[in-house]
């Protein structure tokens, strides 16, 4: 692909304005110092225990998510627009969820086919008619954004697109925070040269958001983080966020329901819990409502939730809005609920459930990215240009067997950012996951988590697929 937007270097001549100082600084840095700084970062991350369990590689496989010391820099004006776009999108997604589990106006209006919503495995009938505080469902949203040129466009025409919405239990924010801490520790002088918008107040914003959505009549809510436990791949993040917010990290077995109330066991006796920042999936929350074999949740939790006496963040059933089969309708949601045009566009998407889009997908699979609508984390997808003819033929059979389970998108030339790799510094594809918080208002820490595909040419940035991360700088105005 020739039309790859390079975040640091303009196609004609030198570094982009916002990278100029950095490039100059990097050029003066002796190679030995770089090697030493990278080693320092690695050993510090190991020492803090920031690792990530990888599924599908046998039990207990833990891996350090590689950290790259070259930051991803976003100019103020770009972030300004992106922030408005994120606020708009997350507002519309929350309004959609409130509508689906309430009046269902968007379906009556004929904008989204009813079966796409109600026959979706992520739709939770239990939420129908259940009131949630401030009508907010996705309190914490991770919106994956890429910068790319569309086929036929030149690199410099590249624009930002939303690739995916994550409204269930989006993870990765601890890396955003730790990456910044690491950069400030390794290169304090850089933060003197650049005015970088701070992100370290994110835990305060998160706690404030969670307190804002506490049940009615609770002035000083008890907020907890619910984790599935130490074997979960994101356990480090659960513990980290609880510690940063100064609140309890609990497991399901630490809580119980009695008399319309959720309690946690403490050394001083039972204590009422008002808000749960839950990092377990819907299916495991209440074994008396969802999966009976779940030992991770709290029996009876849904009865307290239905009573409006505990807040779950995120709410149950948010998956119906971030499912890949619903994604193509988000721009319509923005127009329908807000009467606005989307500020950040969707990636053009073919829905294989539609016969002509299916035939297009089958005929052009070598150029497309094909995704399972229920897949996540880079599993269950095919990147056409990076696949063999055999892989493509096998995938075609899967799509033909169940077309409504797949969508397809053009292979975008994701932007690349210079990154340290074995051969030196080379461009690698990146994306961005900003974390958007919705309580009484919508807020976010500037930037987000930049993920980088470390393999040359790879477009898969997921940490489970060997991706790394970078610090993300939003520059001051």
């Amino acid at each position: 692909m020739k039309n790859i937007f390079d975040e640091m270097h303009a196609q004609k001549g030198g570094a982009r304005t916002h990278y100029a100082q950095y490039q100059e600084w990097l050029g003066q840095m002796p190679a030995a110092t770089i090697v030493q700084k990278r080693a320092e970062a690695d050993s510090a991350f190991h020492r803090y225990g920031i690792t990530f369990a990888v599924y599908g590689e046998g039990e207990g496989t833990e891996r350090l998510i590689p950290f790259d010391i070259i930051p991803r820099i976003i100019p103020a004006a770009e972030w300004d627009k992106m922030e408005r776009g994120l606020r708009q999108r997350v507002n519309a997604l929350n309004m959609f969820l409130h509508d689906v589990y309430g009046e269902q106006r968007i379906i009556q209006a004929g904008l989204i086919p009813a079966e796409q919503v109600f026959c979706n495995a992520q739709y939770r009938p239990e939420m129908q008619g259940l009131a949630v505080r401030n009508n907010i469902y996705a309190h914490i949203a991770g919106i994956d954004i890429v910068r790319a040129a569309k086929p036929g466009q030149s690199a410099e025409e590249a624009d930002y697109y939303v690739l995916e919405d994550n409204l269930r239990v989006p993870s990765g924010v601890s890396y955003m925070l730790e990456n910044r801490r690491m950069m400030m520790r390794l290169f304090p002088e850089l933060f003197g040269r650049y005015s970088v918008a701070p992100v370290e107040h994110y835990p305060d914003l998160l706690l404030d958001t969670l307190r804002q959505v506490a049940p009615a009549g609770v002035d000083d809510p008890t907020v907890v983080v619910l984790t599935p436990g130490a074997y979960n791949s994101a356990y480090f993040e659960h513990a980290f966020l609880a510690q940063q917010m100064g609140i309890e990290l609990v497991e399901g077995k630490d809580m119980f329901v009695h008399d319309e109330t959720l309690f946690m066991r403490t050394t001083q006796g039972p204590k009422r819990v008002d808000v749960i920042y839950r990092r377990i999936d819907d299916d495991f929350l209440d074994p008396l409502t969802f999966r009976a074999d779940s030992a991770l949740g709290v029996p009876g939790l849904l009865s307290v939730y239905r009573e409006g006496r505990v807040t779950l963040a995120n709410a149950v059933g948010t998956g119906v809005a971030d499912d890949k089969s619903i994604y193509p309708y988000v721009p319509d949601m923005i127009r329908f609920y807000l009467s606005e045009e989307p500020i950040i566009a969707n990636v053009p998407t073919f829905q294989c459930r539609k016969p002509d889009e299916l035939s297009y997908t089958l005929a052009n699979m070598k150029d497309l990215v094909v995704k399972e609508t229920h897949g996540a984390g880079g599993y269950g997808m095919l990147v056409g240009p990076a696949s063999t003819r055999q892989e493509i033929d096998d995938f075609k059979l899967r799509v033909q067997a169940q077309p409504d389970k797949y969508i397809a998108q053009p292979t975008l030339a994701l932007s690349a950012c210079p990154t340290f790799v074995e051969s030196g510094v080379a461009p690698r594809h990146i994306d961005l996951r900003p974390f958007v918080l919705s309580g009484k208002e919508v807020r976010m820490a500037p930037g987000g988590l930049t993920r980088v595909a470390l393999k040359a040419g790879s477009l898969v940035v997921n940490s489970s697929q060997g991706g790394g991360t970078k610090d993300t700088w939003v520059l001051g105005k």
């Binding site: 269902q104 109600f118 026959c119 495995a121 009938p125 129908q128 119980f256 009865s303 239905r306």
Partner: protein, 273 residues
């Protein structure tokens, strides 16, 4: 018809339980052609009553004192419509379409597909069906599965019960529902009571409702199929709860801490007038 119902469920533990939490769906519905004349539930511990998304009355019950027994008694009198095959309008904010999606208990398989194909024809997306083809399906399930108490436990899937060729009313309902959904027909589980002379059948019962075309209402209506008895739902049935499957609508779902060696005893008496 007037049904006098007395339903007692007792759990006993060899080693006492320190805590119990239960969802209890033992309060008859007030729609679907039936009327409650009086009804009461006796139970230990704290309890609170809610209407769930499907319009069922659910009692949540919690018990924090040590106990070696839980006794839940539901009793009262319900008047049911004398009509058989009553068409019921949709009754909750969960749309009928949501009942077209399979659940783990109703997941389809080759045998279910075969049953569905024979009675309902080929799959063609979400649809309503004629009550005649659904009656044929009911007959086919009735033929394929012999009623046998204890042949399955509550976690049996439709496919497992069908493969065995025997089961109880819950299994027959799940198989019927699975076959309907395999052809895009919304279908749901009903739990309730049955007035029966047959001593082999318990009076605690389960059957299914399918979404059928309704000439009078235009869009559709629920029609009850008592598969175990191979007939449309009639006055001998009292509806307690509906849901996607047994997990949503079953009479009691609970868990406890401690309470080793549980013995459950159920006594149901239904008398008709």
């Amino acid at each position: 018809m007037l049904l006098d119902i007395h339903h007692e469920t007792t759990y006993r533990y060899a080693v006492p339980a320190a805590y119990s939490m239960q969802y209890v769906r033992l309060f008859p519905r007030t729609d679907g052609g039936q009327r409650i004349l009086h009804w009461a539930i006796d139970s230990p511990g704290r309890r609170w009553r809610q209407t769930d998304a499907y319009g069922n009355q659910v009692y949540s019950m919690s018990l924090t004192e040590t106990h070696d027994e839980i006794r839940i008694l539901a009793y009262g009198q319900v008047e049911t419509s004398d009509d058989r095959g009553l068409l019921l309008p949709h009754d909750s904010s969960v749309p009928p379409l949501a009942f077209a999606l399979q659940t783990p208990l109703t997941a389809t398989g080759p045998q279910i597909e075969k049953l569905a194909g024979a009675a309902l024809g080929e799959a063609h997306g979400i649809s309503v069906s004629s009550s005649d083809s659904l009656k044929a399906l009911m007959g086919a399930v009735f033929q394929a599965v012999a009623y046998k108490k204890g042949a399955t436990d509550v976690s049996a899937t439709a496919a497992e019960a069908l493969a065995q060729g025997k089961g109880v009313c819950q299994d027959m309902a799940h198989i019927f529902i699975a076959a309907c959904r395999a052809r895009g027909i919304p279908s749901r589980y009903v739990s309730g009571y049955l007035l029966t002379e047959d001593r082999d059948h318990t009076s605690s019962h389960a059957w299914a409702e399918a979404w059928v075309a309704d000439a009078h209402r235009g869009n559709g209506a629920w029609l009850g199929f008592d598969i175990t008895n191979n007939r449309l739902a009639g006055p001998e049935l009292c509806r307690l709860a509906v849901g996607r499957d047994f997990m949503d609508a079953g009479p009691i779902r609970g868990m406890r801490l401690g309470g080793v060696d549980e013995k459950m005893h159920v006594r149901v008496a239904v008398a008709g007038q």
